[in-house]
Symmetry: C2
Subunit: 401 residues, 2 copies
Amino acid sequence: MKYQLQQHVQVDFTYPCIFTESVFSPGNLDLVEALRPGQEAGTAAKVLVVIDSGVAEQHPDLAAGVSAYCFQYRDTFTLVAAPCIVPGGEVVKHDDQYVRHIQALVNEHGMDRHAFIFAIGGGAVLDMVGYAAAVSHRGVRLVRFPTTVLAQNDSGVGVKNGINAFEKKNFLGTFAPPFAVLNDFGFLRTLSDRDWRAGISEAVKVALIKDAPFFDFLEQHADRLAGRDMAAMQELIVRCARLHLDHIATSGDPFELGSSRPLDFGHWAAHKLEQLSGYRIRHGEAVAIGIALDATYSMMAGMLQEAAWKRILQLLHALGFRLFERELWPSPDTAVRPVILRGLAEFREHLGGELTVMLLHDIGQGFETHQMDDTRILRSLEILRDWQKQSDPTILEEVAL
Amino acid sequence: MKYQLQQHVQVDFTYPCIFTESVFSPGNLDLVEALRPGQEAGTAAKVLVVIDSGVAEQHPDLAAGVSAYCFQYRDTFTLVAAPCIVPGGEVVKHDDQYVRHIQALVNEHGMDRHAFIFAIGGGAVLDMVGYAAAVSHRGVRLVRFPTTVLAQNDSGVGVKNGINAFEKKNFLGTFAPPFAVLNDFGFLRTLSDRDWRAGISEAVKVALIKDAPFFDFLEQHADRLAGRDMAAMQELIVRCARLHLDHIATSGDPFELGSSRPLDFGHWAAHKLEQLSGYRIRHGEAVAIGIALDATYSMMAGMLQEAAWKRILQLLHALGFRLFERELWPSPDTAVRPVILRGLAEFREHLGGELTVMLLHDIGQGFETHQMDDTRILRSLEILRDWQKQSDPTILEEVAL
């Protein structure tokens, strides 16, 4: 070596996460004010709006409402085109056709790095639009309007985006903080019961690894949450989003350059289960099972007390989650290793480096380990199957174990 | 608004920029040591090597040498495949076929976020490979081996990548710091005279806006630099790379979220000129002209003294740069506005927000302005044309003005 320069770059990102209702109603100034810090005086920013087809169906007036709102505040925003509707759900991430379409619109309308893309939808649509925005001109400004519980309390407030490729989830993506997040609680009213429930599992997850009083709250409000009580849900979302944001800000590794990823508690099995089910099982539903599995494993390994373990399974059950699905152990032949075990290797590959999995010492207290024992995972799966059988005998017909 | 959380994320990136020679010779441990901080003990990291075809032609033993080096240090690296050769120069950025090819290799070989891609080549190849790496698994580790003066002192040590799309330069790209940069001076010996010279213009640029003593150095060593003196060039590269790195680290906006981009002094005209010439004019050659143009403009506007302006043009001339090309003003009809003027609008669009151009108060002292006057730009072009005529009468035949 002749010479060495050591470069140290520190990058600061700031963005507001706003909780509101009827964000596009004429008198609601939250959006106008959230975008003001990025605007040149006297110019109207170019805006492209992308809407999840599922949301557009439930809210037939949404596209017109967004357009009317932008027209009302035309000193601030200029819509470059009518809102663009893209399919909701994982299908929008399966290939890059929608990413390319958005990039073509960015090009066609001469949108620059100070222009805005508004993404209105569930987590999959936000992931896809976020990726398209992040790589256009090295980053057009993204404003997220998450419409599901899952997106409002978890993925939609964070710093990641992505689409699938080579049949691998999020194979393509970046870390790119949004310009602003606007969580409009009004969208929650039209969610299906499944989607309402599915998002709660990420709250259970973050409570388990970080915040015992939040777990108590979830226990105390389980019936109200399952019964679609809006006040309880709003508190859940704000508390969960805050824990998620705090983790990103204070973990010391917001762009996940290391191997540790505590917020992925329960996710190694969840990712694989989603994929094995052909996405019949939703992400949040799979996460509930992943949480149950890793909590059971923690108990079996003597790290988590049985009483705490029972509280966890009872909470998930009270919220309405199933804790076993046939994809977890499809073969009646017990000599065949369930495919779900491959999820551990794929999880390691996606994170990179050494396998790092979060387990539980107690409610509110996670810890990291670098190996999991296959036999103990299988025993944990059996326990979950038996638990599910007991609470829902129909599982007997489905699972030939 | 019901509630607001203000998120603040600080991301730290650290990487070494190492100046060495014969980086793949058996006894050179620079690479092994540069990669050590990212490695798990006892495991060999997966490595994919991508080489610029121009470099591979000049160094027929390079691919075998890299392979042999990795085999020698197989406790540290495992090559997943034979080195992959991609075209050198801007053509490799024209569409996304090479990006897709690299991503397919990342997938095929199960490379994770802790695996390495070694990119060996000029700035265009580094840009393309950097983009492919940055979006695979949200960022596979990139190690750059810049092989040109331009890449070693400027683009290859920075935090950007990209490819072209919709006929716009770097339409797709990200900000993504590399894991390490290894500048091997040995590659400079086989550069063509054009490539040797072209990279010097970025050193002139950064000296002009930031470092008067470095400008003095360039003046004092102009003949040696033009005459391919290796010691002078090494000093130039280290000083220029250091100024570039320091700017990124201390500017307060390493990922260019604002509109200011001082390192793009002279670049508004350069980008357009490259494109107008169909990339016949190299980036560094175009930057030399862009510098001459904006220095002349600064002088015409009464902001830069004539004596300083003359030193700038004389230095560029002594280094062997042409200061006028026919694409700058192709029509003999003076009523036709030269297309080069459109470069200003395109520059603004690429940066986003308000037009922000760097001009000069003095050598070593740039300042930013938000407008440029067309008539004064045209007059500056005429001055450059006359200067070039005087020093090279062949321009008379080429430029029908």
